[in-house]
């Protein structure tokens, strides 16, 4: 689901709630990862659910609705899986929904250019339910590569409706809905399993004819003996199947016949997969006409550069640099405009309040407190976000991210972690909470925890703008293009440092509290696809930018109020603000910062976006009032309060490595289910940050800086 309202915070764990009313038609969308399933879902429901061009993006069930011909449909978007054998949580979720979810139809979405492999899942699904349909998506790509699919033959062979779609352009998707309840052919479908499995199944099947679920599939599952699944089946059927007398005896007979042939669990699995592959292969040969090498030549050429030994790192660094540079330059002017505009608006509101005769206290609280911080957050945070998210989403859509995971896997493996952590790291760039949720794509619990705990070492969009501002103020003397290039380069260096720390901490964790061996790693690299520019931009703005921004604003308003209260409430001659910052000051000085900065970080725990405005506001209330309308004025304000370049450096480093925001912490708690690990998530970056700042501050002192 990527970064959306639903995927972060306290609503993540259980996924969406299915709301199904009387008369609603429930359709489940299943399919291999990366076949465009979520595109079909978006097309049907019109929900702007985020899709990304890499394996395993949908990590929670999502539900949506749509209406057609006066019928109401509820659509469930299942996680992408290669099979229903349930090796991972996602696969188990998909399998359980198909088996027990009570859908009126299961629509299996397939990639027309990769049909043979997709048929594996189709066949496994058809063994469970006949109420299904096959959606052959990406039909435009197939045509481009000369792949021809004979839909009617396929439909006859499978016994279910088969619809060709081009979900990106919305073609054929309506027909998917119309297919519910229709039959595809008269021949009932059956997978050809090799002997001795076939004869074992024939022995067992008759005793299961009375069951709700298909007898042949039940026989297969009983032979496989997966306890977890069998428990669920027994619950669904309302009886313990293996305990029924005729089932028990038939099962015993079947099992012994398999044992006679020397088949263990692996051997049995081989036969099952063999049967599925052979049947899929036969059907494919009958229905699809494809040239010998139909893999996308263009993707191949691009990959030569992106995954090349030397060119790979260069391209990744360059991509990061370019995105940051575009974000910095692009955000400059809009930030200034917004800042001026909102200040002006603030004065207008001020005028109204004065005219209405509002008490001074309330007026000051609203304008000097709430509005000021809100204006700050908007002006400084919104423009960079609005540029970064679309750029990043474009890269995602194009299929760039799996290549990053591919390139970095070697390093992650050396840290005893999983290459997929590169993907969750990238998600953390947008929002650390979303990155934590994204760690579900990592199967091994140990590696998942490592990824979750180190996600905060990558700065999220709430922290960028502060770093950019500080870099521009204290480290860049040039203006214009050269200035912004240097800013981008310094920020890239900071982020690379964060990435190196991620590696180091992953290695540390896997050597201490999360010991273990690297898990098996397979990752699909989908072909590069041209991103749908307009859709990406619109979706990024609404789905991501506005969402993250509104969350920040929701925190900024009360935070501004609190700071105002602290600056205006006096306790024994000093304001609360001065009291707290003075109390924290000696401690903070050890790390190259001061009490105000540390207090701002603490108050900024709900949202990193407000740290910089809080610092500025705190300084302003301690001294005479100066209107800070741009960075130059802010720099003057900070320098007047004792800031040097070293202070700025320490603040940047601490911003990179400090406790996660409350949303992230809540998400970590939900995903790990443990307070202990949440505490580790809190302490790990904090300790690293403090240590680094300590070192920097004291080395600087040694040199008399």
């Amino acid at each position: 689901m990527g970064l959306t309202n639903r995927s972060t915070g306290s609503r993540t764990a259980a996924g969406e709630k299915l709301v199904r009313e009387e008369g609603d038609i429930l359709i489940a969308l299943a399919g291999n990862p990366n076949v465009g399933k979520s595109t079909v879902f978006n097309c049907l429901t019109g929900l702007k659910q985020h899709t990304g061009n890499w394996t395993g993006k949908t990590v929670t069930n999502a539900f949506g609705e749509c209406r057609r011909d006066s019928k109401k449909y509820v659509i469930a978007d299942l996680p992408g899986t290669y099979s229903l054998a349930a090796h991972s949580e996602e696969e188990a979720v998909a399998r359980d929904f198909i088996c027990f979810g009570g859908a009126d139809s299961v629509v299996i979405v397939c990639d027309a250019t990769c049909l043979e492999r997709n048929l594996n899942l189709v066949l496994q699904t058809l063994e469970i339910t006949r109420a299904a349909a096959v959606c052959v998506n990406l039909i435009d790509e197939a045509e481009r590569r000369g792949v021809k699919v004979d839909l009617s033959t396929l439909s006859k062979r499978l016994g279910v409706p088969v619809i060709a779609t081009d979900a990106r352009r919305g073609k054929g998707v309506g027909a998917v809905l119309d297919s519910v309840g229709k039959d595809g052919g008269d021949k009932p479908f059956k997978v050809e399993y090799p002997d001795p499995l076939a004869s074992a199944l024939d022995k067992l099947e008759p005793s299961l004819k009375e069951c709700k679920l298909p007898s042949r599939w039940l026989a297969l599952k009983l032979l496989e003996g997966n306890e977890e699944l069998l428990a669920k089946i027994n619950e669904h059927e309302g009886v313990k199947l293996a305990a029924l007398p005729n089932v028990a005896s038939a099962l015993e007979a079947s099992r012994s016949s398999l044992k006679e042939h020397g088949l263990d669990d692996d051997g049995l699995a081989d036969l099952i997969v063999g049967g599925l592959i052979k049947t899929a292969s036969d059907i494919y040969a009958e229905c699809v006409d494809a040239p010998n090498d139909c893999y996308d030549a263009r993707s191949r050429k691009i990959d030569r550069f992106i995954t090349g030994r030397v060119t790979g790192t260069l391209i990744m660094l360059a991509a990061l640099l370019v995105i940051l540079w575009l974000t910095i330059t692009g955000a400059n002017y809009p930030s200034e405009l917004l800042s001026r505009g909102l200040m002006w608006l603030g004065e207008v509101f001020n005028g109204w309040l004065v005219a209405l005769g509002t008490p001074e206290l309330i007026r000051s609280a609203l304008i000097d407190g709430v509005w000021r911080v809100l204006a700050w957050v908007t002006a400084v945070m919104l423009p960079p976000m609005a540029i970064f998210f679309p750029l990043f989403t474009l890269l995602e859509d194009a299929g760039f991210l799996p290549r990053i995971a591919f390139n970095l896997d070697g390093v992650f493996k050396r840290c005893n972690a999983c290459g997929k952590q590169a993907l969750t790291m990238c998600m953390g760039f947008g929002c650390n909470a979303a990155g934590v949720v994204g760690c579900r794509i990592i199967d091994s619990p140990r590696e998942k925890f490592i990824a979750i705990l180190t996600n905060n070492f990558v700065p999220c969009n709430g922290r960028f703008p502060m770093m950019i501002a500080l870099i521009s103020m204290f480290f860049v003397v040039f203006s214009g293009v050269l200035g912004s290039l240097i800013s981008a380069a310094v920020l890239t260096a900071v982020i690379v440092f964060g990435i190196i720390m991620t590696f180091a901490m992953s290695k540390f964790l896997s050597a201490t509290v999360l010991k273990g061996t690297p898990s098996k790693f397979t990752l699909e690299l989908p072909p590069y696809r041209k991103p749908q520019f307009l859709r990406v931009i619109v979706r990024s703005i609404f789905d991501r930018t506005l969402f993250v921004f509104s969350r920040a604003a929701a925190v900024a308003a009360p935070a501004g109020l609190i700071i105002w209260l602290m600056a205006n409430v006096t306790v024994m001659d000093t304001t609360l603000l001065a009291f707290c910052s003075e109390a924290l000051d000696p401690f903070a000085r050890l790390f190259g910062m001061d009490g105000v900065i540390l207090m701002a970080f603490i108050l900024g725990m709900p949202a990193n976006e407000i740290v910089l405005p809080l610092i500025a506001m705190a300084y302003m209330s301690n001294a005479t009032l100066t209107e800070v309308t741009d960075l130059a004025a802010m720099q003057t304000l900070f320098t007047a309060n004792g800031w040097t370049a070293i202070t700025a450096l320490c603040v940047i480093v601490f911003s990179l490595m400090h406790w996660p925001c409350t949303t992230t912490l809540l998400t970590v708690k939900k995903e790990t289910g443990s307070l202990k690990w949440t505490a580790v998530a809190f302490l790990l970056p904090t300790v690293c940050g403090l240590v680094c700042c300590f070192v920097i501050a004291n080395i600087a002192r040694l040199f008399g800086l």
């Binding site: 290669y82 063999g274 893999y295 397979t522 690299l525």
Partner: protein, 77 residues
């Protein structure tokens, strides 16, 4: 008569046919699910930055596999 290698021996652009899959457990099933069984034709498309993992074309899809697993899959060119 083709030479016997493992999948991890394939160089960029080299193709081969799978003769044996010497891996057990869950990873075996996962590899089978993506179509990697005896008789499948595979092609090494990219070797990556550290030569590990490498990307292989399997039944129309590009899959990245680490040397740990690829070295247990025997192929014949």
């Amino acid at each position: 008569m083709g030479t016997v290698l493992t999948m991890s021996d394939l160089t960029q652009g080299q193709s081969a046919t799978v003769t044996q899959v010497n891996i057990g457990g869950a990873i075996r099933r996962r590899l089978q699910d993506i179509g990697l069984v005896v008789g499948t034709k595979v092609e090494c498309v990219a070797r990556g930055m550290f030569a590990d993992p490498a990307a292989y074309l399997i039944r129309g899809a590009l899959i990245a596999l680490r040397k740990d697993e690829a070295s247990l899959i025997s192929v014949k060119s």
